[in-house]
């Protein structure tokens, strides 16, 4: 148990990391299974995403964290043969209802990827891109500046907005990608291992940033870094891969709870084994 307590001490003492119990549910997954062709990658996931809270998804590699994350803004639609069963609602509306346009979904539920992927355009155009495709034309400069400020990047790039986004460092590029995502004012931001390519200082900046952003946005983050999940998130979902009786591996949600509970007093033995490092 020593290692559990050592991790729990990493949870910041301030109240902002405590889940707000009154937080509304923005998204709800109910018995969601995701298939790639005939392969059921994730089976039967039920969990809420709460407003203005940071929800972390952790678990061993291949357990389906990215798969579930991508299903939240219908990025899986772009993969041939991918489909879901069960329901995902966004403000009580079925995300996968036939009349829902995935493009509109993605405009309200943004995404930041593992590898920083700015467009081969200037810093300014990277941030303005989302605004332009959303038909926002007024006060572009102001909106770009605000997004860059909110992404804690403004001071580093304000003198060179017309240089390429690819000429920035990895950590700056990732914050540029965050700025690009928040510029269009989505409600939810999905982040798939956003810090895995970054050094501890850049990671720290992005973690601080996530706290700031959670005042305005709802955040879901996939991470392999247990300390990061403990530091930044209010809720944690622990996934693992199980082998069924036909010897096929499926991802499964083992436990969803307040981050504090998951890291100090998990309900499930597998969660405890994983976070104490006895697994994976």
């Amino acid at each position: 148990m020593t290692s559990v307590t050592s991790i729990s001490t990493l949870i910041p003492g301030n109240a902002s990391a405590m889940p707000t119990s009154s937080a509304r549910t923005v998204m709800q997954l109910t018995d969601v299974s995701v298939f790639y062709g005939a392969y059921e990658a994730v089976r039967g996931t039920t969990m809420p995403i709460r407003e203005h809270q940071i929800t972390a998804m952790i678990g061993p590699s291949g357990c389906g964290k990215s798969t579930v994350l991508r299903s939240l803004n219908r990025m899986n639609d772009l993969i041939n043969g991918a489909r879901i069963q069960g329901t995902i609602t966004f403000h009580d509306q079925d995300l996968y209802a036939p009349n829902v346009d995935p493009i509109q979904v993605r405009r309200r539920i943004g995404m930041v990827f593992q590898k920083p992927n700015p467009f081969p355009k200037s810093i300014y155009e990277n941030v303005a891109y989302g605004l332009r495709i959303n038909g926002i034309k007024d006060n572009l400069d102001g909106r770009v500046e605000k997004a860059l400020r909110d992404a804690a990047l403004w001071d580093e790039v304000k003198g060179k907005l017309n240089t390429s986004g690819l000429a920035l460092s990895g950590g700056q590029q990732q914050r540029l990608c965050i700025a690009r995502a928040i510029a269009v004012q989505p409600e939810v931001i999905l982040m798939d291992e956003p810090c895995s390519a970054l050094d501890p200082i850049a990671t720290g900046k992005i973690e601080d940033l996530m706290h700031e952003l959670s005042r305005t946005f709802t955040i879901v983050i996939v991470t392999h870094n247990m300390q990061q999940a403990a530091r930044v998130s209010h809720y944690t979902a622990f996934f693992t891969a199980e082998v069924d009786d036909k010897q096929v591996r499926h991802g499964r949600l083992v436990e969803f709870n307040d981050t504090g509970r998951i890291f100090t007093n998990p309900n499930d033995k597998r969660t405890e084994d994983y976070i104490t490092g006895r697994f994976g």
């Binding site: 993605r106 943004g110 992927n117 081969p120 390429s164 690819l166």
Partner: protein, 331 residues
Amino acid sequence: MTQQPNPALAMSSKARSRIADRTFWAICLIAGIAVLAILGLILGSLISQSMPAFREAGLDMFTNTRWVPNDPDADGPAGPIYGLLAFAYGTVVVSIIALIFAVPVSLGIALFLTELAPRRVRGTVVTFIDLLASVPSVVFGLWGVLVVAPALVPVYQWLHGTLGGIPVLGRLFGEAASGRNFMTAGIILALMIVPIITSISREVFDTVPDSDKQAAWALGATRWEMIKGSVLPHSFGGVVGAIMLGLGRAMGETILVALVMGSAVQITPNLFAGGYALPGAIVNLFGESSGTFTAVLMVMGVVLFVMTVLINLLARVIVRRAEVRMKGATA
């Protein structure tokens, strides 16, 4: 683990790899020098062969629009006039028309193939385009003269009727005496260079990293917005390269242009008038030429060569600047 590798052995294997390295380096060097030498030889002999023309006709060749190489009825000017401007004009106009038609079509097909088409359609279209690429240009030329040119005459007449009256712009759409003119030649030429621009652009579009496309999708881009945001900026340099290859073929194309455009030596804004381009002139006139006349044809070759080189340099500069703007100095 405990035993050190034999130092002599290690050395000899290193020496061997060095020999391989050197051999490879030498082969590359020879190949590189050979290319440069051949290019230099061509340019050198072109220039030396064209010296008589420079001595006799001088810079008048590059400023004069008249072309009277010989004067059988002796009722014209006292000496031959070798103005090359009309030929250069013909080459430029035909190439521009070809690009105006070929570039949008090629990029459209390439984008369709990489971003939209299901795999089966993709294969069929690619086969079809490859077939188009293998049609000899003389066949394109004959088809242009015998089929396309007559068929387009009514279209040209209609265009002349509707657009001919517009002030400045209307002058482009003059009378169409026959279908053998700048426009028809440009269109057939476009058809000929579509395959090369398409297949190279397609490969360029294919190299756009998936992560870049995902970035656009995740912002709620439509397919076209994704293409504008990710695919096109990424492919700019490669696409310009593809267009340059197409342009190079268009400018150098001889038989097709000569067949379809006829041989009227004139500079006119009317796109429905006949013209003459440099390569066609060289081929058509070489047999009947001698002395200074032959040297003038050599000058035509030099002009074509210089035009191609200048356009390629310009393209390089454009691409370089765009790449720095889009991808940073390291690109």
